[in-house]
Amino acid sequence: MLVRLIPALIEGILLGGLYGIIAVGLNLIFGVLRVVNFAHGSMLMLSVFSYYFLWKIFGFDPFFSIIIVAPAMFVLGYFLQHILIRPLFVRERALVVEPTSVLMLTTGLMFFLDNLILAIFGPNYFSITTKISSSYFNLAGVAVPWPKIIAFFGGLFLIFLVTWLLNKTEIGKVIKATAQNRDAVAMCGIDVYKIYDLTFGMGVALVSIAGAFASQMFYVQPSIGTVFGVKSFLVIVLGGLGNILGSLIGGLVFGIVEALGSQVIASSASTMLSFLLFIIILFFRPQGLLMRRAERR
């Protein structure tokens, strides 16, 4: 039994790193805008498809394509927020409108994007094969695919980069401040909506980088977004809202629980376990593992 556990553990840790990066993007958006972005998975899916086509048409390695895709996705995210979501915020200030509207908007966006890609490309599976994606690394007798290792360490680096950005740069501190109290920030003369646009763009750019990793680890198909979309929410709740490091920890815990769980019970059942964990955490410790008791904004 133990022999089976070790590769599962390694798998879980590496997968957890990927969950972590995806969650960081979502955490940023959720933490700052308080928007439940159901379309987050669709953003991942769009970036994965972009990497695939850049590889297919130009032969670019996905890791190289990051410098193309990430800025493009940043722009996409910026404009999505600016055009679609900002009007809801503006409206919310003026009237008493249910916050359900943003949820429904992002859900509609998710439906639209997922099915648009499905309609255009069909439910076919594609996959990217590069020199790196098919090579393995021998870790304690386990053959670990290189992309997963790169994804893990790349993700770690990315997360620490984001944490540094948020804590040490001017714009990062403004973003953190907006997450804590948007009215206070507005009173300091900062255009809160612009910060929203920026943060959304950043979040989408982050998930697009995760897409570079995911495109080499999984099949490229329209539903890749749905799976990760829902799970990333579980991860950020687990880690604690607004805590970037928490997303990483949450992702790791999640990945390990899933990987180990699928050894003991069926893999689908381990997803069930994740949901159960989610509910339990929300019930007993809604601020997640790393946050102190949250003050309501």
């Binding site: 859900t107 439906f111 499905l118 309609a119 929300l282 019930f283």
Partner: protein
């Protein structure tokens, strides 16, 4: 809008006369139209209007968006069908058992969920529904040896025309059953709105803290709403099973269904009485038309357009279509009254008699 002197503003929750005409038409529709497909569309409209009303009671009135309503629908459907298959129990009684189980489940789900606000509430409802879906989809034999049949779903025994077992060979009895169910649900929603429960719920919706400060027990009233909503939802599940004679976890516990129900109620008008009916009348035929025209040629394009509609409604008509539709009906009312040389509705009191 300018109001003429002496005019009474019509209460937007008052049912316009022209709407009653529509209700009457719906009652006699099967006698006029014999196209099975159109009858089926209406059955689906009533079905979703019914479920939308049930969702409205818990989410529309409390303001917390539940995207796990399918869990309640599915439990009702599965319990009744399992009893039917394994114990030969007629769904007419099975639905009562189903309702009880669903209500208990609703309380179990509701209690932790209601401690949460906003997106956390929504995510938790999704988690519950997904949990159930994954469990049932992947379990062949459940506890106590109950055959859940996993992702294959349950096949309702085909008995032909068996009214005692909630099975009919024609669509028309289903039409009337669902129509009546929809009326009942709407009427109960109206009662809730009028009575104290409705006011408490709306108070909780506007400002839970203020409501609590006034002595309104948040959990108690939310749970009451949940109980009523669950009972209705479970009937929806039973009906689905008996109408399609097949039920499977992916559909009946699915996020798609939850979103559809929520969308219909939201587009109709969250927290309104007739909203779900209007929402269903708009969305169900549109969905059917889209999947008819596009579902075959470009799979998924119909859902893509559905998504666009969702976004458009949220951006341009966030309050739903209820107010606009009721206004239209009121205008039709006034027109008819003037046509028949009766006094304009504004001067009549509620019972229709002049003061």
């Amino acid at each position: 809008m300018l109001q003429k002197l002496g005019e009474r503003k019509t209460d937007k929750n008052q049912i316009p006369f022209s709407l009653i005409i529509v209700a009457f038409v719906l009652l006699i529709l099967p006698l006029l139209i014999h196209n099975e497909y159109i009858i089926h569309i209406f059955v689906m409209v009533f079905f979703f209007a019914f479920l939308g009303s049930s969702w409205n009671i818990v989410s529309g009135f409390t303001g917390e968006l539940s995207l796990g309503h399918a869990a309640l629908v599915g439990i009702g459907g599965y319990v009744s069908t399992l009893l039917f298959i394994n114990a030969g129990l007629t769904p007419w009684i099975g639905m009562i058992v189903g309702a009880i189980v669903t209500v208990i489940a609703g309380i179990i789900i509701g209690y932790p969920c209601f401690k949460l606000r906003g997106p956390f509430f929504t995510l938790t409802t999704i988690a519950f529904a997904e949990l159930l879906r994954i469990y049932v989809s992947n379990t062949e034999t459940g506890p106590f040896g109950i055959q859940l049949k996993g992702s294959m779903g349950l096949l309702v025994p085909l008995l032909g025309n068996a009214p005692h077992f909630f099975e009919f060979s024609s669509k028309i009895p289903y039409y009337y059953i669902m129509l009546m169910a929809m009326f009942v649900a709407t009427w109960i929603t109206f009662l809730i709105r009028k009575k104290r429960l409705g006011h408490y719920l709306l108070a909780i919706k506007s400002d839970p803290d203020a409501a609590q400060a006034l002595g309104v027990n948040l959990t108690k009233y939310r749970l009451i709403a949940m109980i009523i909503s669950s009972a209705f939802a479970s009937f929806g599940g039973v009906f689905y099973a008996q109408y399609f004679r097949y039920i499977n976890a992916a559909r009946i516990f699915g996020l798609d269904l939850s979103i559809e129900i929520a969308l219909i109620a939201l587009i109709g008008g969250q927290g309104t009485i007739l909203g779900p009916i209007f929402g269903a009348l708009l969305l169900v035929p549109v969905g059917e038309y889209l999947s008819l025209k596009l579902g075959g040629s470009l799979p998924g394009s119909d859902l893509a357009i559905y998504g666009l509609i969702m976004m458009a409604v949220v951006l341009f008509m966030p309050r739903g279509i209820n107010n606009i539709v009721v206004k239209v009906f009121n205008n039709v009312d006034n027109f008819l009254m003037r046509l028949w040389r009766l006094k304009p509705r504004e001067i009549l009191n509620k019972k229709g008699r002049s003061p």
